[in-house]
Amino acid sequence: MDWKIAELKELEDKIWRCTACGTCKIAYDYGPPPTFGEICPAGTEFGFEGFMASKGKIAFARGILSGELPWDEELLEAIYKCTVCAGCQNQCQLDHKPFIPEIIEAMRRKAVEEGVGPMPLHKNLLQSMKNYNNPYQGPRRVRTDWTRPFKKAGKPIKDLNKEPAPVLFFVGCTGAFNTAARAVPTSTASIFQKLGMDFGILGENEICCGSTAMRVGDSEEFKRVATKNLETFKWLRDERGVKTIISSCAGCYRAIKKDYSLSSEYDKVMEGIEVVHTADYLSRLHKEGKLKFRGELPWKVTYHDPCHTGRHLNKFIIDHEGKELWKGAYLDVDQSECLYEQPRDLLKAIPGIEFLEMKRNRANSFCCGGGGGVMTGFGDWARKNASLRVQEGMDTGAERIVSICPFCHFNLNEGAKRIGSQVQVHDLTELVDQVLVGCDGD
C-alpha cells in the first residue's frame, strides 16, 4: 500500500506563500458585532513569535529548509509545543492555508526521520504502539475491560471476529485504556443497544488508529497500523458485512476519515463503508425522529468543539490548475463535514438542558490543549491550557462541559482539577444515554 505523506521539502512552495502578516495569530470575525479571542494555545502560553500560530511555525519551516536553523533541543521542543489545533489555519487567508497543519507535522516527520525527534515522552508512546498496538502500554486483554458490565448484564457486545454485523464500533485506545474516559465507550455501546442496533467490536484485536503517531511525526508507525486497519476494514466489509464504522473518538474519526485517505488504496478499501462519528449518527436518528427521550437533565451545559471533529474536517477548495485564479490558489473552505451543529442540536433536544455557548466556538473554538502530542509530551501545559478552557466554560454560567472526544474529555477534566473547579465534564453520549428510551421502552 502506497502512502502520499508529504515531506517538508515538498511543501516548500506552500511555505513561501506565507507573507508573515500575522492574521493567523488571533481569532477574529468582523460580525457585526466583531468578535475577538486568543486562538493559539502555544502563543497564549509562551508568547514568543516562534510559538505563535502558523506565522511562527512557518518561520521555523523556512529556517529548517534553508539550513539557517539546525536542529537543537530547543528548536525541537518548540516544534512539538503546538497542539496542531488548526486555530491559526482558520484565520489565514493565503494559499498555504490548507497546508498549515501538514507543514507543522512535516517538520516533525523530518525530525523523526533525521533521528532527533520526537520528544522523549513521545518515544515511550511510540514504543508502546510497537509493543502493544496502543499508546497506553496496555495489554491486549485490557482493551475489552469496559465491556464486562455488558456481559454481566447479559447483554454482551458482539465480537466481529466471530460473527457478522453491519456496524463496527471502533472504540479507540483512549476510551478502552484510559479509565477516566471509559464512560465514552460504555455510554456509546449502551445507546447502541438501547436502539437495538446490530453492531460489534473488534475487541482485543482492535489496534490503534495511528493518529497519535501521525501527530508526533512518526509516519512509519502510522503507516504500519493504518495499513493493518485498512486491511481489517476490507476484511470486515467482505467477510462480516460491515457497512458503517462508528467512532466516538474524535482522533480516530479524523484519522480514519482524513489521514487514511492518504493511502493509494483508500477508495478501493473503503468502498461501501461509511465512517461516522457517534454524534453525527445520533443526530441523524434524532432528525428522523428515532430518538426518544424520557425524564430531564436540569443542567446548565456548554459545549466544547474538539479540533478533530471541527476545523480538522474542513475541506479546502484549491485552484490546482489555475483555471479560476492561479495555480495553487486557495479559493474557499467547505465546512459541511465539520460536526458543529450535530452535538448542539442533540444537547438542545435533551429535556431540561439549558444550553450556554462559549465565546470561542465552532471554527474558532479554543483547543483543550491535549492535541498534537502535547498531552503526552507536555502534560503540565496541557492541563494548564485545559483549565483556561474550563474557565471559559464556567464563565458562561454552565455547570457542565460536554464534548465528543475522549482526549478532550480527559484533558478538560484534568484542567478542572487543576483549578479546583466543580464543573463536570461529560461526553455527549453520557447525557444521551441517561435520557434515551430504548426500543423496548426501557
Partner: protein, 491 residues
C-alpha cells in the same frame, strides 16, 4: 549580532561570545523573568524578517515585557550596557521597521495588551501597545464606538500604527490615526517614565495633547527610536448606522484626481480613496500584465456614514452634484459597481481578507513592500504617471492607491508592490523600483511614511541641514547612547 544573508556595514553590538550572552541573559532574566527572555536562535529567527524587501537580520535576544516597570528596568540596563533595543508589537509593517539593524534586544510588547479604559462619554480609550485592532474593535463595539481601522491584519497593534502615522478607514473624516492620539505614556531610552498630554497633569485625564506643548511629537513618527510608548489615549467615535459608498471609475489619473479634489471639498466622506486597475485585481498581477483594453484605469470608493435617512440623502445630493460637475468637465468619469467582495474589504474593517495581504501577495511569493507617502494631491497625477513608467519598466504592476486626508488636499499616495522573496534578484528588482519611485515623489514634495532605511537615506539627502541637526540633537538628548532602534532614521 548575526547576519543572515548579507555583510553588515554598521558597527554592531556583537553578542558573539557565550559568556557575554549568558551574563546579559542573566540580567534580562532578573528584570522580566526567565520565561520572558531568550537568546535561542530559532526564537530570534522568527523576528528576523517581515513582509518587506529589507534584508533579514537577527536580534541577539528577545525579551517580552509585561509591565512598565520591567521596560524601565530593561532600558536602564540596555542603556548602561549600550545594547540596542527594538520595540516590537506585531511586526506587520512593510518597511522592515522592527528588523534589528544592529542586533541587540528585540522587545516584544504583545503581552502588554490591556485596554486600560474606554470612556464612552468622553469618547476616549486608553490602550497598551499589545492591543490589536481586533481586540479594540470587539471592545469598542459594545459601546457602539469605532476607530479608524487600517487595512492591516486584525492582529496588528493599534498603538504602533498610530504612533507611526498609520492610516485608517476614517482618515477623510478625522485625520490620520496619529492625529487621534490624545495623551501618551513613554519610557525614555534612559529608563525614566514620562507622560505627555493631559495625563501628564492629572494621571487619569487622557483626553487631549493640547493645549500643552506637543511633546507627543517626540515619539510620533520616530519609528521607536526615542522611547517605548507604553500607553496612549485615543479618540474613538460613535458608529453611524447608515453606510453608503459611492463608486466611480475613470480612464486616467487626472480625471480621478479631479473628482477626488472636488468631492473632498465637501468633507462628506469617512474615506475617499482611489485605486488603480492593478491594485483592484485579486491578486495584484506579478509580474506586470497589461490592463485589458477598455478597462478603466482607476476606481474610487467614497465611504460615507450617516445618522438619518435625510442626512444620507443630503450626502447623496452633494455627491450627485459633484458627479454632474465632473461630467460637465467632459472627463471620463463613470458610475461603477465596485465588486462586492472588494467593497466589503474596504468597508468591513478590520478585515482578515485585506489584512492578510490576500490581494497583494498571492502570486508574488510572499514579498510585499511599498513606496508609501504623504503627497500633495495636486502632484498625484504626475507622480503616478512616472511611477507607472518606472514600475512597468521593472516588470512590476503600478498598483497604486490614493487617499485624501481630512480637510486638506494632500493624502496618501502609495504603491503596493508584490515580489518573490525566495528570489534575491527579484527582491532587489522590487527594491530598486520602489526606491526610484520614492525619489520621484520626494522631488515632487511628497514624504514617505513608515520608511525603510533606504527611504530614510533619500529623505535625509534632501533635508535642510537645520532639520537634520535638530533631529540629531533631539535624538541625542533623549537617547544619548543611541540604543533605541538604531539606524532606522538614517542619521
Amino acid at each position: 549580532m548575526s547576519e543572515l544573508s548579507s555583510p553588515q556595514k554598521e558597527p554592531v553590538f556583537a553578542a558573539t561570545d557565550v559568556g557575554k550572552v549568558d551574563s546579559v541573559l542573566r540580567e534580562l532574566s532578573k528584570i522580566v523573568g526567565e520565561s520572558n527572555c531568550t537568546a535561542a536562535r530559532h526564537i530570534r529567527y522568527a523576528y528576523s524578517y517581515d513582509l518587506s524587501f529589507v534584508k533579514p537580520k537577527l536580534p541577539d535576544y528577545v525579551v517580552m515585557a509585561e509591565t512598565v516597570e520591567q521596560i524601565q528596568g530593561l532600558l536602564r540596563f540596555a542603556n548602561k550596557e549600550k545594547i540596542p533595543v527594538v520595540p516590537y508589537t506585531a511586526g506587520t509593517n512593510i518597511g522592515g521597521l522592527t528588523i534589528p539593524e544592529r542586533g541587540g534586544i528585540l522587545l516584544d510588547l504583545k503581552k502588554m495588551n490591556k485596554i486600560v479604559d474606554i470612556d464612552p462619554e468622553a469618547h476616549v480609550a486608553v490602550i497598551e501597545p499589545g492591543v490589536s485592532h481586533a481586540k479594540l474593535a470587539d471592545a469598542l463595539y459594545k459601546h457602539k464606538l469605532r476607530f479608524g481601522w487600517p487595512v492591516g491584519p486584525p492582529s496588528a497593534s493599534v498603538l504602533a500604527c498610530a504612533v507611526s502615522h498609520g492610516i485608517g478607514g476614517l482618515n477623510a473624516r478625522y485625520g490620520l490615526n496619529s492625529q487621534e492620539i490624545t495623551s501618551m505614556e513613554v519610557v525614555l531610552p534612559t529608563g525614566e517614565l514620562v507622560r505627555v498630554g493631559s495625563c501628564a497633569i492629572r494621571h487619569d485625564a487622557w483626553h487631549s495633547c493640547l493645549p500643552l506643548p506637543q511633546l507627543d511629537g517626540l515619539f510620533k513618527g520616530w519609528l521607536g527610536s526615542t522611547g517605548v510608548v507604553t500607553k496612549i489615549g485615543i479618540s474613538v467615535h460613535p458608529i453611524p448606522p447608515l453606510l453608503k459608498v459611492f463608486t466611480v471609475s475613470c480612464d486616467n489619473v487626472e480625471d480621478i484626481y479631479s473628482y477626488m479634489l472636488n468631492l473632498s471639498n465637501y468633507e462628506i466622506c469617512d474615506d475617499l480613496t482611489a485605486v488603480s486597475w492593478w491594485l483592484a485585481q485579486v491578486p495584484i498581477p506579478y509580474p506586470f500584465k497589461p490592463k485589458p483594453d477598455g478597462a478603466p484605469e482607476w476606481f474610487s470608493f467614497a465611504t460615507t456614514t450617516s445618522w438619518t435617512e435625510k442626512e444620507r440623502e443630503a450626502r447623496t445630493e452633494i455627491w450627485e452634484t459633484v458627479f454632474e460637475e465632473e461630467q460637465k468637465k467632459k472627463t471620463s468619469i463613470k458610475r461603477t459597481v465596485y465588486p462586492e467582495e472588494a467593497l466589503r474589504g474596504r468597508t468591513q474593517l478590520p478585515s482578515q481578507v485585506v489584512g492578510s495581504t490576500k490581494n497583494y501577495c498571492k502570486q508574488g511569493g510572499a514579498g510585499i513592500s511599498w513606496p508609501g507617502t504623504f503627497t500633495p494631491a495636486k502632484v498625484w497625477a504626475p507622480v503616478y504617471n512616472k511611477w507607472r513608467e518606472i514600475l512597468i519598466g521593472h516588470n512590476l504592476s503600478p498598483s497604486v492607491r490614493m487617499s485624501m486626508y481630512r480637510g486638506v488636499h494632500y493624502g496618501m499616495l502609495r504603491a503596493m508592490i508584490p515580489f518573490n522573496k525566495q528570489n534575491a534578484e527579484e527582491t532587489e528588482n522590487a527594491r530598486r523600483a520602489i526606491v526610484e519611485c520614492l525619489k520621484v515623489d520626494l522631488e515632487a514634495g511628497g514624504i514617505p511614511y513608515k520608511p525603510p532605511i533606504d527611504f530614510a537615506n533619500e529623505i535625509n539627502q534632501r533635508a535642510s541641514p537645520g532639520y537634520l541637526d535638530l533631529l540629531r540633537r533631539v535624538k541625542k538628548f533623549l537617547d544619548p547612547n543611541d540604543i533605541m532602534n538604531p539606524g532606522k532614521l538614517g542619521i
